[in-house]
């Protein structure tokens, strides 16, 4: 680092001395209306999923032959389905399957992808070359088609759907982490950490990882949106949440057969998926802008 930029750096440090990077990002994020709307919806959905047993008006799997396909009413705000179950209750409970699938599968993708990306980017050489080609191979397979194939071979269940989606989402994180590591590892502070004799794993975990977190957070948020669509798709096809447990995707599947006489069955679960995906996309887009290092304010 030249002495000039060191001085400039010191000057910035005195101005922003009390503002940590996380605080700055939060301040910038708060200014973005779209991101805040997204965050508010995400918080609401999480609350809905956690509080489902207390806020759902009815048992989501209790059938009633007296209530088959009833239009929305005061007793059943969103109507009932083909076996008389309350749709509002099922939509509320369905948030559990969707959100947990989104979070768990992206967790899996991060858990496998980030360490592999760190290794590939930091070690380079043949490890990097081989991983690079595996990533190419996985990215060549259309996302949903690979997820369907994995879920089909693993067997239909919500847990297997999460694994299938998580594994399918992994290569993006390997590639992103690797690229970021390549950029960061030539920085002076990494060189300095090595000069004082830190072991390689420590440099990767303590010095490189914290500096590449922002783009990973952005990608993870957007990946949750993709994972929610994927879970809904797999459940729609019967490869996710198994009946009678409620999930938005499987609700849409049964709704399709009753479009003519019970259209409300198709409206609400679909709207729930759309809103959930939209909110994570809004939040991800906002995070990308807020964490952009080129942004100076």
């Amino acid at each position: 680092m030249t002495s000039q930029s060191a001085i400039a750096g010191a000057a910035v440090a005195t101005i922003d001395s009390r503002e940590t990077p996380a605080r700055r990002a939060w301040r910038r994020l708060r200014r973005r209306k779209g991101a805040m709307v997204g965050l508010a919806i995400v918080a609401t959905l999480i609350a809905m999923a956690v509080l489902a047993p207390w806020i759902a008006p009815y048992d989501p799997i209790k059938q009633s032959w007296l209530l088959v396909r009833k239009a929305p009413s005061l007793a059943h705000w969103l109507g009932t389905d083909e076996v008389g179950r309350d749709i509002l209750s099922r939509v509320i409970w369905g948030a559990r399957a969707s959100l947990s699938a989104g979070l768990v599968s992206v967790g899996i993708a991060l858990g496998i992808g980030v360490p592999l990306g760190l290794v590939a980017g930091y070690l380079g050489g043949w490890v990097d070359a081989v991983l690079g080609r595996v990533v190419d191979a996985m990215l060549a397979m259309p996302f949903l088609i690979l997820a369907i194939a994995l879920a089909a071979f693993l067997g239909p269940s919500l847990g297997n759907a999460m694994i299938a989606i998580g594994v399918t989402a992994t290569p993006v994180f390997i590639r992103l982490t690797r690229g970021q590591v390549m950029q960061v590892k030539v920085e002076d502070y990494v060189e300095a950490a090595r000069a004082v004799g830190n072991p390689r794993w420590r440099i990767a975990a303590r010095h490189i990882l914290p500096n590449i977190l922002p783009p990973l957070m952005v990608q993870a948020t957007l990946a949750i949106a993709g994972a929610i669509i994927a879970e809904a798709s797999l459940s729609f096809l019967g490869l996710g949440q198994q009946p009678p447990a409620p999930s938005w995707g499987s609700m849409l599947n049964s709704a399709q057969r009753f479009l003519g006489n019970a259209p409300w069955m198709a409206i609400w679960p679909g709207l729930a998926i759309f809103v959930a995906v939209l909110s994570f996309n809004l939040l991800g887009d906002g995070l990308r802008d807020a964490l952009d290092p080129k942004e100076t304010r």
Partner: protein, 313 residues
């Protein structure tokens, strides 16, 4: 350029190798005795024996892989357990249907997405721009199977304008063919349009601040000419390459779209195969789509080289 192509082709070999390993490896995920699972309802010892022989399940896994790969390389993707037909023939039969759907969706996406992208870049920070950005966000967030269901409800159930499902090929009757594919093509193109809009907007914003656009304006050319002739042509090149990367999104989308509209293409093939535990067909579809994706992206790279003289040296 020859160098670039040679390097690019050489790189494909390990990628294709790993594609084949992953597709073959899917089989190893089957719980329990694979022969028993693959046979499905059939418990006939003769059938089980045939499966064991066909997949060489008594041999070590690398040997199984070698035999499987040898078959694949000579165009043998295995046999459909349910349809008693070679997988390769099934895939070839469904290919034109999905290709027609995908091409129509691309046209929808190009017209809507690129159009919206140009408008939003030219009218930056106006209501037009916000509208186009909202549209892109909608396209990216809308689950295509829900959009499909809503369109069927509106145009088929409620208004009765279009058939809700089924497919007629172009050769049979082009009017009926368009009627059966226009809704699915729109549903499929919707998501791609959102992505293309964002790419186009970004590329246009960059190009609009470049020197040659300023020069063109300084010469007193009409704004329309500057945008359509000078800016757009240069902005679209990266959009095409980025668009080719979205081909996977299109094929993924085709799975559910074909399912909703009961269109007998690629996506329906893999879904039916999953329902019927017809595992060889599932593997075949994954293998063929991945290979198609790799080849088409190679072609996109070549096209990029051809239209961009600066890269040709």
């Amino acid at each position: 350029m020859v160098n670039f192509l040679a390097r690019r082709l050489l790189q494909l070999i390990p990628t294709l190798f790993f594609v084949s390993v992953i597709v073959f490896g899917l089989q190893q995920l089957l719980p329990g005795d694979p022969a028993l699972v693959m046979a499905g309802e059939e418990r006939d010892p003769e059938v089980l024996e045939q499966i064991r022989r066909q997949y060489r399940l008594d041999q070590p896994i690398p040997i199984q892989y070698a035999y499987w790969l040898k078959g694949v390389l000579s165009g043998d993707l295995g046999e459909s357990m349910r349809l008693k037909a070679p997988v390769a023939a099934l895939v070839l039969e469904k290919l034109p249907v999905t290709a027609q759907l995908a091409l129509m969706a691309i046209v929808v996406a190009l017209v809507v997405g690129v159009g919206a992208g140009i408008v939003s870049a030219v009218k930056r920070d106006t209501a037009w721009d916000y509208g186009a950005n909202l549209f892109a966000l909608w396209g990216i967030s809308m689950p295509n199977f829900w959009l499909g269901i809503l369109m069927i409800f509106l145009f088929s159930v409620h208004l009765g304008w279009l058939p809700a499902s089924g497919y007629v090929s172009l050769r049979e009757d082009w009017r009926a063919s368009l009627a059966t594919t226009i809704m699915p093509a729109f549903v499929l193109g919707n998501a791609l349009a959102g992505v293309l809009m964002r790419h186009t907007r970004g590329a246009m914003l960059q190009v609009l601040t470049s020197d040659y656009v300023r020069t063109a304006r300084a010469k007193g050319l009409l704004e329309r000419v500057v945008i359509l002739k000078h800016a757009m042509r240069n902005a679209l090149t990266p959009v095409i390459t980025l668009g080719a990367l979205e081909l996977g999104t299109l094929l993924s989308g085709a799975v559910l779209t074909e399912q909703i509209f009961t269109i007998p293409g690629f996506g329906k093939l893999i879904v039916d195969a999953v329902f019927n535990r017809d595992y060889a067909v599932v593997q075949g579809v994954v293998l063929v789509t991945a290979t198609a994706y790799i080849v088409l992206n190679l072609l996109a790279d070549v096209a990029y080289l051809l239209v961009n003289p600066r890269l040709r040296d």
